[in-house]
Amino acid sequence: MTAPNHNWRKFKNSFMQTLTFACAILVVTPLVLVFYHLIKEGFSSINLAFFTQLPKPEGEIGGGMGNAIVGTFVLLGQAAVVGVPVGVLGGVFLSEYGGTKLNWAIRFAADILNGVPSINWGIVVWGLLVVPMHTYSALAGGVVLGMMMIPLVMRTTEEVLQLVPGGYREAALALGISKWKTIVQIVIRTAMKGIVTGVLLALARVAGETAPLIFTALGNENWPHKLTEPIAAMPLQIYNYAIGPYNDQHRQAWAGAFVLLLLVLFINIGVRFLTRDRFKPKT
């Protein structure tokens, strides 16, 4: 009530305000730094050859990582084939069927899986596919990324399906439409943009995974031929070049990191674009 007391309060207020603002800035700083370095070091190394050529033998100047770029897309395609159907249908089960206790257990398992270090996934698929097939392969790489997508896609699918108002389900069932058709034609259709968003974010998340690919896809100096052969991938190539001794490899590693970041960025921009007029239930 007295003046000094008031000033102390004002000081505390502005101090806390500054502190929270500083922390908010701290959150954004790494992104700005990463971008700054990648553009500074990587942008100048990006040319047509980078996208279209194979790596040159060690020590030689030039070449590119076209095979790794193609490899990353091949791996992501396989990952989608494995991860999307299982993840989406699992999410449908959680949201539309399933009892409370069972759902709790599945959700719990999915959340744990989302937190499993990615290298563990690599070891699991190494044991499941690489050992029995006696070779590292693109297939194993795609499967491991797909398996990592499943819990992510499942949880986001469940969440967006839960956002669909129950009134639409009731209206469809009251028309004598079967439950399965109601789910596919009414509920999933209404939540489609949200589901696609979840899939894209999961793809963006696994696109940069390196550790699981060391155990599965291994990497390759040539263009991809068969799914049963080792395949190059951008994160692997970046890793190999970054720990290598040659300056030209470092240069290409920066460029690769920059392109990989751009890929993830474009996926995220695509998500923003999709969710721009995302379905909002009328209240």
């Binding site: 028309l175 004598g176 439409i177 259709r189 009328k282």
Partner: protein, 259 residues
């Protein structure tokens, strides 16, 4: 209530209906004959079981996994709870309109009207087009939307959306139409349109309507059932319920002394 069960003037015969949600008995021993091609209103204070009663008539209450029923409901003589009857089939014969209008947001006006037919396997364009016009006309919406049938359904006003929902329910040609407070979220003009529509529809359809609005029950219905605490207190011709009810509870409620 001594009408023979197979009387063609009786659409629904309800006998000793009880509905439980878990251990909670929300409807107790209800017996009613719902007259065909007439409007039957269900009135009563909140929580009296009137919505549950309505939903038991097309087995929609079964969406709640805790729900359990006893008793018997016959639709033109067919036991709708018989072991070999699928709820899906019951709901095709007994349509429903909800309190909150809920046209499917991803579909156009036409698609909303025909969705029940299309998802039950009707493919012929001609039938779908015919049924669209017919249903929209019956729902008194045709003149307002005939120039924009392919516009999104959610571009319509609230009252139009509710009439679209009625058209959608009519398109599958049910025998009975259940309405759960169909006008309670609408303004007076839109409400009047819905009420006019109900009076039109009863020429061809059996209508059961739940309403909180007693004037509305008096205006549109031929018969009125008064529910209180899960029990059917009184069921009679609407004129009788509102002028000289035989039970004191009914009189207190319709004159606004409680509830």
């Amino acid at each position: 209530m001594s009408t023979a069960a197979n009387n063609p003037n009786t659409a629904l015969t309800v006998r000793n209906l009880a509905v439980y949600f878990g251990a909670n008995k929300v409807l107790k021993d209800v017996s009613i004959d719902v007259a065909a091609r007439a409007v039957t209103a269900i009135i009563g204070p909140s929580g009296c079981g009137k919505s549950t009663f309505l939903r038991a008539l097309n087995r929609m209450h079964e969406l709640n996994p805790e729900a359990r029923m006893e008793g018997e409901i016959k639709l033109f003589g067919d036991d709708i709870y018989s072991r070999n009857v699928e709820p899906v089939v019951v709901r095709r014969r007994v349509g429903m309109v909800f309190q909150k209008s809920n046209p499917f947001p991803t579909m156009s006006i036409t698609e909303n009207v025909t969705v029940g037919l299309r998802l039950n396997g009707v493919r012929e364009k001609k039938i779908l087009n015919e049924r669209t016009e017919q249903s929209l006309r019956m729902a008194a919406l045709w003149d307002e939307v005939k120039d924009r049938l392919h516009a999104p359904a959610i571009s319509l006003s609230g009252g139009q959306q509710q009439r679209l929902c009625i058209a959608r329910a009519l398109a599958v040609q049910p025998e009975v139409l259940l309405m759960d407070e169909p006008a309670s979220a609408l303004d007076p003009l839109a409400t009047q349109k819905i009420e006019d529509l109900i009076l039109q529809l009863k020429r061809d359809y059996t209508i059961v309507i739940v309403t909180h609005n007693m004037q509305q029950a008096a205006r549109v219905s031929d018969f009125t059932a008064f529910f209180y605490l899960g029990e059917l207190v009184e069921f009679d011709a609407t004129a009788k319920i509102f002028t000289s009810p035989s039970k004191k509870q009914t009189e207190d409620y319709v004159t606004g002394r409680f509830g």
